[in-house]
């Protein structure tokens, strides 16, 4: 008969108290599992936003703002860059040795019912990829065509929340929030993107030519000449004030060239380190800044979201520790009842160390049993919620989605159990055999 079995028998004897103790430990462990999965989901969905291209090129200024604005459609655009810079990149005028495969223009400054309207080109959905190299697909309809200036496609979340369907029309609103004004022109929805789990689910994408055109007409009302407004820029220095500043520029300095908020750049990666080289060259130049989104997103994640995750994890671990203290209290409270049993074992020849070990093993069994219960509970919940998680974040997590860090739970629980079991084990160690044997069991 092993010491494990002796410890197990003791647990069985106090079935109700043991079960409750293990369940409290299980809930703590389930919470840790949940936090770890939430961490994975947030991490993946966060980093996924910047996948599919190598560089973001935009107006000089804050790197983080550029990424927030371009990748997540958050915050205000920091400014625009000339559209001609796209050709400079594609035609090798920035660095003749670097082959830029694609430079997708992004124009912002409009919204529809709270969702961003993004002016771009059809190549965005043809040449860029998302989530581990997947191609954009349309749940309904198709991509907009370059020659049809007032066509657009919408993200899955936008479709769900606005109930826009293929064939419906919508008016882009100049700016975001209060004070925004609807443009007269309407865009026709020609496609609804499949759910991607990226910020693109929450945006409407329209033909960039139409985007420029509505800018032009909006500015007509301000009394500027048509030629200048045909070349209007989008989102110059902030969304809501873009037109005003544009008008000011036109008035003072004549017609500006067309400009865009950002360019999403894909490079021929056959030469190692080429991304960093082009980034440095663009940043050294006077026109624009370039950022590698992955690096900025990683910093943002670790700096802000990562800390929240850490706090959640610490709280979850504290709950496990409190559950561990519950194990200690449960075993310690049983010690007065068990002193006689311990004395009997000692009288049968068990050494002090053996009875101490039995108590420690009992603590370990309770903690590991609770931990196993917690893992099953945590992963069962994840399995049950996985369709919901996939729908809302695009991150696929299954019931068997284990993380390496979960392996730490086993030694962690053993260490915790040994620590909390020490006090009752010490009580067992110190049991006065002769006195306990003569007392009534």
């Amino acid at each position: 008969m092993s010491l494990w079995k002796i410890a197990w028998r003791s647990i069985q004897q106090r079935a109700l108290a043991s079960t409750l103790t293990a369940v409290s430990m299980g809930l703590g462990v389930a919470l840790v599992v949940a936090v770890l999965v939430v961490h994975t989901v947030v991490d993946r969905s966060f980093r996924r936003g910047g996948e599919g291209y190598d560089l973001i090129v935009g107006h000089k200024g804050g790197r983080l703002e550029l990424v927030l604005n371009t990748v997540y459609y958050l915050s205000q655009p920091i400014g625009n860059i000339p559209e001609s810079y796209r050709n400079d990149l594609l035609e090798g005028r920035v660095d003749p040795e670097i082959l830029v495969e694609t430079a997708i223009p992004i124009c912002m400054g409009h919204s529809y019912r709270g969702f961003r309207v993004v002016g771009t080109v059809p190549e965005l959905f043809e040449k860029l990829r998302y989530r581990d190299g997947q191609q954009y697909r349309f749940a309904q309809g198709e991509n907009f065509k370059a020659e049809n200036h007032f066509e657009g496609v919408i993200g899955a979340t936008v479709a769900r929340e606005t109930r826009l369907k293929v064939g419906d029309r919508f008016k882009a609103r100049h700016g975001v929030g209060e004070g925004a004004v609807d443009h007269a022109e309407e865009f026709t929805v020609v496609g609804i993107l499949e759910h991607t789990g990226t910020p693109n689910d929450r945006a409407l994408f329209v033909n960039m030519e139409g985007f420029f055109a509505i800018h032009s007409h909006a500015s007509d009302g301000a009394g500027h000449d048509d030629e200048a407004h045909e070349q209007a820029v989008a989102g110059d220095r902030g969304e809501h004030h873009a037109d005003d500043e544009l008008a000011h520029d036109l008035h003072d300095h004549g017609p500006p060239s067309r400009s865009v908020t950002a360019l999403l750049v894909c490079l021929d990666q056959s030469t190692p380190g080429i991304t960093w080289r082009l980034e440095r060259e663009i940043n050294d130049g006077p026109v624009a800044q370039a950022v590698v989104p992955a690096g900025v997103i990683a910093n943002l994640f670790e700096g802000i979201v990562g800390n929240v995750q850490l706090i959640l994890l610490i709280m979850a671990v504290l709950i496990v520790v409190v559950a561990g203290l519950g194990v200690m209290v449960s075993i310690y409270n049983s010690m007065s009842d068990r002193r006689h049993e311990i004395a009997v074992m000692r009288a049968l020849g068990a050494s002090r160390l053996v009875v101490m070990l039995v108590i420690l093993l009992e603590s370990i069994l309770l903690s590991l049993g609770g931990g196993l219960l917690g893992l099953l509970l945590g992963h069962g919940l994840i399995g049950a919620l996985s369709p919901l998680i996939l729908k809302h974040t695009g991150v696929a997590v299954g019931m068997l989605h284990f993380q390496t860090v979960e392996l730490l739970l086993i030694p962690g629980l053993v260490i915790l159990a040994s620590a909390v079991g020490y006090l009752p084990a010490l009580a067992a160690y110190r049991t006065d055999v002769a006195r306990s044997l003569t007392s009534t069991p």
Binding site: H340, V344, R346, A350, S351, R352, A434, P441
Partner: protein, 223 residues
């Protein structure tokens, strides 16, 4: 095989004074001898058994079992020696309630150097008439059956000395003789020396050797 020499044992009382319990100049038991020790309640009988078993250390004197002077042993050595060479039958049986009859016997084997011998444990339970109740927990056994399991447990490791502390005191009168016969018979079969403590004259009357604790213990206590 058992020799006690100049054993003294006292307990410290709450007021700090020492209460002498044992003062025994000499006490011997031969190999396979069966003897009974009678005495009044509180006379130090259980304390004497604890001292012989190494559960309590005497304040002075020597306890020798076979060639081993256990009073020189460390506590851990004493535990191991007790597990391997001394059987103990308690007045209140002291079976562990969470374990079956078989497991209670196996438990005693767990604390020796050898591996628990399940076949011997079953054989012992059969010998005490409980071969059909090996999986029963103590609460499912009658008082007499519990004491029989306790006897089987005490003999599990083939001890050379069996200490029985009032083994029939908690057994109903109908089964007292049965338990007593069982202990004496199994000790005889296994060549085990028996020191049986009792305050019942009927039990004592069945032994050839009857020692009165009051006669060998120079401390006058008890009620």
């Amino acid at each position: 095989m058992l020799q006690l020499k100049d054993i003294k044992k006292s307990f410290t009382q709450p007021d700090g004074t020492e209460l002498p319990i044992l003062d025994i100049a000499e006490f011997n038991v031969a190999p396979a001898e069966q003897m009974v020790l009678v005495g009044r309640s509180g006379g130090g009988k259980t304390t004497l058994l604890h001292v012989i078993a190494g559960i309590s250390r005497p304040d002075a004197g020597k306890v020798r079992i076979d060639d081993w002077e256990i009073t020189l042993f460390s506590e851990a050595e004493c535990d191991r020696f007790r597990a391997e060479r001394i059987g103990y039958v308690f007045q209140t049986f002291n079976l562990l309630p969470g374990f079956s009859a078989l497991e209670n016997v196996l438990l005693a084997m767990r604390f020796t150097r050898g591996r628990p011998d399940k076949a011997r444990a079953r054989q012992l339970l059969e010998r005490v008439g409980l071969g059909h109740r090996t999986t029963h927990k103590p609460t499912m056994l009658s008082v007499g059956e519990q004491q029989r399991v306790a006897v089987a447990r005490a003999l599990a490791n083939q001890p050379k000395l069996l200490l029985a502390d009032e083994p029939t005191a908690n057994v109903d009168s109908g089964h007292q003789q049965q338990v007593l016969d069982l202990i004496r018979q199994t000790c005889a079969e296994e060549d085990v020396a028996l020191v049986l403590v009792t305050h019942t004259p009927e039990v004592a009357g069945q032994f050839e050797r009857v020692d009165h604790l009051e006669e060998i213990n120079q401390v006058v206590t008890g009620t």
